[in-house]
């Protein structure tokens, strides 16, 4: 018993980048999500909280923002502030899907 685990158990765990959208309320709680459930709720909550803090602090610095787009090497995080929180889009930046800002 368990020989399959012996055969396949050593496979490396590769965390693929999250893809989808999160709707969060003003407290940073996730109201709706299309991101795979493989990603921990805690990770996605951290993302929501950081994004909301960026929006809030921008407002406090007299620089209110309706949208922010963070371009990482392999992921783009776009967040739009809504009346009751924010919608956050997580889009892996792959060679198959070049950035819309890339030169044509």
């Amino acid at each position: 018993m368990g020989f399959l685990k012996k055969l396949f158990g050593s496979r490396a765990v590769v965390q693929e980048l999250p893809m989808g959208s999160l709707t969060v309320n003003a407290q940073g709680n996730i109201v709706a999500s299309t991101v795979s459930s493989n990603y921990s709720r805690a990770l996605l909550s951290d993302v929501s909280r950081e994004v909301l803090v960026i929006f809030r602090e921008a407002r406090e610095a007299q620089l209110p923002l309706a949208e922010i787009s963070i371009h990482f090497g392999s992921l783009r995080v776009t967040a739009r502030e809504t009346r009751g929180g924010a919608i956050i889009f997580l889009m892996p930046q792959t060679a198959l899907l070049p950035l819309p800002t890339s030169p044509k």
């Binding site: 950081e50 406090e60 371009h71 392999s74």
Partner: protein
Amino acid sequence: MEVRHKVLIVDDDADWLDVCREMLSQLPSKPEIRTVGAGARAIAQLDSQPFRLLICDLKMPKMDGLQVLSIVRRRFPDLRTVVLTSLEDEEFRSRAYSLGVDLFWLKPDMQQNSKMFLDCIESLLGKESETGNAGFRGIQSKSLMDIIQLECMSRNSTVLRITRGPLVAKIWIQDGELLDAQVGNVRGEAAFQKILAWKSGTFENLAAEPLHERTITRSINALLLETAQSIDESSDVAQTEMIEKADHRKTVWRLALLAAEGAEFVVTVPPEGQGKSEAWGAHNAEQLTGWTRRAADAIKRLGDRLEAGPVSHIAGASMERRLAMLPADDKLFLVAWPPETPENELLEKTKKLVASWDS
């Protein structure tokens, strides 16, 4: 006993993997070559045994090359990486280099310049000792002048392609002799001196062009000496009066640049404790500096949590303005643009402004 290094090639095209395997088998060091067809398998292989070099395609289904490289950079910092792709796009080239790859090579070039490609791979495999002292990677502490001197002293033939933001320059070197230099519409010695005045940027070695027209006939040493003297003279502004004049000129230049480019304001933010931030066109500089630092910290935390690689830039929008935050020269630039600025021009406009900022 001589150790055979292991090379891992990842590409979703099985035929191409065969071509690579055959080509790399000609390497003098006879490395052990493994091939895999997917990014996830490559990571699994790297986890299971030590490799010296990873050759990675960019365009692959599920997990593409940029994602693989982003993971590899974090998990296997000593692994040397080469991108081999058919995507002839400068953006991918700069994104790959920003992920720390050692070499970016186009597939058609690999077949046309196979000898040069193999030399590069052999060099990447060779620079190592078995004691774990892998030597130094990168040449961050070298100036462009040092690099050119090295190329010339080694009697190399190459084309140096130097990039500073949106500005691109080329220097042609043949058998250690300087043939030509070009930046924008300027060529020859004038271009060479202009390029050497750049304080930072990235460079790469392209294939030599022995038939390129020669416009520079003076010796490299004479030219370097003259350029170094003129740079020294221009930077020898010890007297307060000269510094004040220079500062004044810089301020006027920057405000003129701001107006000419149509930006609303620029704030430059150095790392905490490493100098003061500066602002042009902004009335609440302190608040903007504070927000820029805190946002950058939050974004770095996000990137670390998501394993998404380094931040290339941040864009923001509101009814009043568009914003771009860009890291450059150890500083963060926060640039505001009018709201009607097209989204697809925001980054290029900001890069251009930032590249010209200290000119």
